[in-house]
Amino acid sequence: MKYPSKEMPYRIALAGNPNTGKSTLFNTLTGLRQHTGNWPGKTVLCAEGEYRFQEKNYTVVDLPGTYSLYSNSADEEVARDYILFEQPDVTIVVLDATSLERNLNLALQVLEMSDRVVICLNMIDEAIRKGIRIHDQKLSSKLGVPVVKTSARDGKGINELKKIVTRVAEGRIQTRPYRIRYSEKIEEKIQSIQSQIENIFGDQLPSRWIALRLLDGERSMLNALKKRIPKEGAPDGANLKSPYPVEA
């Protein structure tokens, strides 16, 4: 091999509801090049692995399967913190193609917090068997990110998925992730909190998304942020307090 260790691998995260075939996809992508590890301070296991594609290295993290990134279970916190603070080069949201209505909840949440997202419609074989037809192009243009159909269990669509992931990682596909626009009143509050977050963290974190979580009264978000306030030249942590009531 030529320069495998010199170049930094792209970091890919797999997010999705439980039972969408995330781990199957992870195994298909990484083969035997994987291990599991605990994240610092957490008891949640995440598998990590690697693959090589078109002369580039990729590391893949199989995040815990969750229905949401908001509800403060340990699993959801791990998945949320990874996407938010580790900022993977690409987050693949694995959806069960036979159960899109339920699965899109998490997809929309990830789209609100990250720009580099690829939607993987897995279990497409099962969807076809059930007579479910999905207009992937339409879905892609509505969500503003690429959509790839796969059947991870029999390796279908994996090459296409890798190609798309590469292009998003390299910035060769420009995404326009769908972001919900809220009422005037909420948008005003988002703005005021957002600017405070930007004062502290600059453009390092998705400030709009964080503002929404704080408005939602999400305590664990506040704690996670406090731990990451930059040490030097930053205003003190008290500024981070949401002016709105935080749930007890």
Partner: protein, 80 residues
């Protein structure tokens, strides 16, 4: 006649269309994430002998809820 009842009072076999959730905070968020959103249909599968928990189907998934939560979800029984 459309009358609103709490989900806890719907009977097995019935389908309730959700109008609103009388819950706050983490539990509200949790239920919304599980698919208990206004406009969604919930099909009651069965109840435990004492009525708690109740097994139901929402958004293609089977879920068990305690009376504590199901009594705070309100909607109308469909087809009545």
């Amino acid at each position: 006649m459309n009358t609103e009842i709490p989900l806890s009072e719907a009977k097995p076999g019935q389908t309730l269309r959700i109008n609103r959730l009388e819950l706050d905070g983490t539990m509200r968020r949790r239920l919304l994430d599980l698919g208990f959103i206004p406009g969604a249909d919930v099909h009651i599968l069965r109840k435990s002998p004492l009525g708690d928990p109740v097994a139901l189907r929402v958004s293609n998934t089977t879920i068990a809820l305690r009376v504590e939560e199901s009594s705070r979800i309100f909607g109308e029984v469909l087809g009545e």
